[in-house]
Amino acid sequence: MSEKKKKGMTAAEKRTAYWAWAFVAPTIIGLIVLNFYPAINTVWQSLCKTGDFGRGNTFVGFANYAKVLSAGETWQSLWNTIKYALIEVPFGVVIALILAVFLNQKLKGTSVFRTIFFLPMVCAPAAVAMVWKWLYNQQFGLLNNIFHTNVAWISNPKIAWISIAIIGVWSVIGYNMVLFISGLQEIPGDYYEAASIDGANGVRQFLSITVPLLSPTTFFIVQTRLIGALTVFDLMFMVMDKTNLALQKTQSIVYLFYTYAFTNGNKGYGATLVMVLVVFIMIVTFIMQKAEKKFVYYN
């Protein structure tokens, strides 16, 4: 901060600034040490050619970027990631919102339901993968048996990405729901009472009170889930085998990063993929922050 600007602040503003800096200091220092220092290391790696078999790294400038950006694989996986996010985020948010509104009523048994919806989040990933693999199994799976179809849910490149995204929606519902319930808690009850007296019905109340007053929470969920969906990884290898024909058309960009950085030992190339992803998410986030001013209501 420049000296000029400092002088331009009033005493009260200065005091506020001191308090604020003191408050953010632990978090910011922690993040710099724990996260930004490794991140800068990654930036450096993306500019290097990884030395293998005992040779050291060599600086190559933007050669990795040229390679990554000209590979069709990169764009395919980025597109796969976007497609995944386009299903996971809207469906996950809407379903969770509806459930949260239901569970915020004076209904019997809400705490039991809340616990049940939370369960998938604590289940062992192996159990989740087993269940979904069985559901999707072409010969013996429940889905094909119920609908009397013979669909290759996770090995047909045309539909595999949808099947994966459905698992994604299923696994984030509980997460989004907890956040929505906590947001709903902060809406004062008298707003609803006033609206009831005016004769507004449930749907009207939902649209005119819940939606605007919940918009900060909704924005937060959409923003964090969007980032989460764009960095999706675990889900992919949980369900997809490496021999799966649809892998090309479903693998996310982090999955591709994993393949290069870990399996192939090409860390420089992997780091470059991460950089491409981060830049992409930054652009999306920037757009969202602009949209926040328009659509989000803060009292």
Partner: protein
């Protein structure tokens, strides 16, 4: 239709939707238990597919697992890690969240963008550098080492920033008149009001800490210092594809997590009586 009848109708519809969703969400959990009581052969058989155990319910699988691993130590380590991570995360995040949500200060935009950027970077790249830090601090195989990467949280800061932003403006102004400084205002007025956001942060921190597998596996090479999830991964490694054993241990592992959630969520929804809406 009278209002009474309409309300009833609404309630029934809500229950039907909730029950269907609950059923869908319960499937993997039920699956874990069903697999845990099968024999190994049944658990992997697909051609005649068994939903229920065919050769009797082998509840003794749980006892076998319980005996062969020291769950008490694993529970203890996990709970300690969760406790410290929750305390640290809530403390740092509530302070930073208040500053970002409520105060104006130079550098705010830039510093907040750091928070967002942290969330964008795939977590895989942090692990090895963090391991080297913990190792040079001499904290391998200790609770402090387990807690280390969870001291601060970008997610939590953002969450609580949203929480603070949602509070009415006039509150703070009223407090300002009474001669409170910012610290007092924060501590006595603002922080208690974001309780539900704090509790949801607590739940998520606990959940992420519980599910975190990679970190405990790296920093604790010793089975007396490791956590449940890492201990389970070890069992998976040792038992290979013995699914009943794996699932029995997984069920035993998630019990404390469910208890934590039930306790937390009771706090969390206490406000419902005063603020619940009607539909």
């Amino acid at each position: 239709m009278s209002i009474e009848a309409r309300n009833r109708m609404n309630k029934i519809i809500m229950y039907v939707i909730l029950v269907i969703m609950a059923f869908i969400m319960l499937v993997p959990f039920a699956w874990m238990i069903l697999t845990a009581v099968k024999t190994n052969q049944e658990s992997i058989s697909v051609a005649p597919f068994y939903i229920l155990p065919h050769n009797g319910w082998h509840w003794e699988n749980f006892a076998t697992v319980w005996k062969s691993y020291n769950f008490v130590i694993l529970y203890k380590n996990t709970l300690l890690m969760i406790f410290f991570r929750v305390v640290c995360a809530c403390l740092t995040a509530t302070m930073a969240g208040y500053a970002f949500g409520r105060l104006e200060f130079p550098g705010k935009k830039f510093l907040f963008s750091l928070i967002l950027i942290q969330m964008m970077i795939p977590a895989q790249i942090f692990i090895i550098p963090q391991y080297l830090m913990v190792s040079s601090l001499g904290l391998l195989n200790s609770v402090a080492g387990l807690v280390f990467p969870g001291i601060v949280t970008a997610f939590g800061t953002y969450l609580l920033k949203t929480g603070y932003q949602g509070l009415p403006k006039d509150l703070e102004e009223a407090a300002g008149i009474d001669g409170c400084n910012i610290g007092q205002k924060f501590l006595l007025i603002m922080m208690p009001l974001t309780r539900s956001a704090m509790i949801s942060l607590g739940i998520f921190t606990a959940l992420f800490a519980f599910k975190d597998l990679m970190w405990p596996m790296i920093v604790c090479t010793n089975s007396a210092t490791t956590t449940l999830s890492a201990g389970l991964a070890k069992m998976q490694g040792q038992y290979g594809s013995d699914y009943p054993t794996m699932m029995a241990s997984a069920v035993l592992a998630i019990i404390p997590m469910i208890v934590i959630y039930v306790i937390f969520q009771k706090q969390f929804v206490e406000g419902i009586a005063t603020s619940g809406g009607k539909l």
